[in-house]
Symmetry: C2
Subunit: 202 residues, 2 copies
């Protein structure tokens, strides 16, 4: 679809699967998404980098009818139907207490937990950014499993945090519908900014 | 490296290139990174999704000696040497005025610009999250070009914003060294959280 492929090492099929042909799905088939598929996604994208290897992303798979109803109630009107009908819905959140895992996860510098992350606002800012990177990796990982992702940010964040993270230590970042695309799954592809609109050189 | 590959559609070589074998590089060879390579990266990752197709990420390629010196001065001590010596360094920032592009980029709903994004704090929050997704996509894209990325968040953000975004409308998110990995490029791989530490089901 572009003339730029020759500068990439990634093969064309993978380019299409992950980026060029992949689309945000708005309808899904009934085919279930298994825990094994989610494990495969996680076991791939867990390797992508975060600052201090902090891995602040946490994932809640919404599988019960009761939990699905509680989630749908917090979604924006335009997102309720697809969130209610997708084979699997994942809530992606930042763990603002990620620093508890740093001594085991960043053994090269065990002092990081106390030196850099003793204050909650600093942790929230760092977790928000790094878990957002991981949301990006996760969307690519869902596609790597041959599934379509439908990421959404239209929801009552405070409501989701209360309903699903009673400890008060997590901040929802995105809700992602996951499954095989159904009938009329896509809107027309929107344009993209040109290279020169995004990239400058100094 | 895992038993989960069979649940993925993405071929094993691509899994290794993008995730399993890819590492954050701390040293680089002298081999230049060309504008053509960066264009290929952008022309791949531009397709990945953002809310309202807002595409808030902006990229500054630091190519001149003068600009490199101004950037290095804003980096944390531990990041100065590698930022000074990488073949190419990219500053990744959120454009907090991304809404100006929405009427052309999200033609399905041209009212979005005024209905949702008329207030700057709302734009800053949305741009911060969505451009962070795009930082994640960009890191994967650099790897897709057969290059190593060295993303960093250790810098004086206010200083970089002043030095490189005089309009006051951009917020730096990450600085990424880019090139072919050099001698002793990697630290030992840090552990990763287990699936059950990250994923819960409700």
């Amino acid at each position: 679809m572009t003339t730029a492929n020759e500068s990439l090492v990634l093969d064309a099929a993978a380019q299409d699967l992950l980026f060029r042909e992949a689309r945000t799905a708005n309808t899904f088939t009934d085919e279930p998404v298994t825990d094994e598929q989610l494990q495969a996604v996680y076991d791939l994208v867990k390797y992508a980098p975060t600052a201090f290897n902090q891995q602040a992303l946490r994932i809640v798979l919404v599988r019960s009818t009761e939990a699905r109803e509680r989630l749908v109630a917090q979604m924006s009107d335009g997102n309720k139907a697809k969130t209610g009908s997708a084979p699997l819905v994942a809530i992606l959140a930042a763990d603002n207490e990620f620093h508890e895992e740093l001594p085991s996860q960043f053994p090269a510098f065990p002092q990081a937990k106390d030196l850099f992350f003793s204050e909650r606002p600093v942790r929230e800012s760092s977790a928000g950014f790094n878990a957002a990177l991981q949301v990006g990796y996760f969307i690519i990982g869902v596609r790597a499993a041959g599934l379509a992702a439908g990421p959404m940010t239209g929801f009552n964040a405070e409501g989701i945090n209360k309903e699903f993270f009673a400890d008060g230590d997590h901040s929802v970042l995105a809700v992602v519908n996951i499954g095989k695309p159904g009938a009329d799954a896509w809107y027309p592809r929107s344009p993209r900014l040109a290279y020169d609109q995004v990239v400058t050189t100094v």
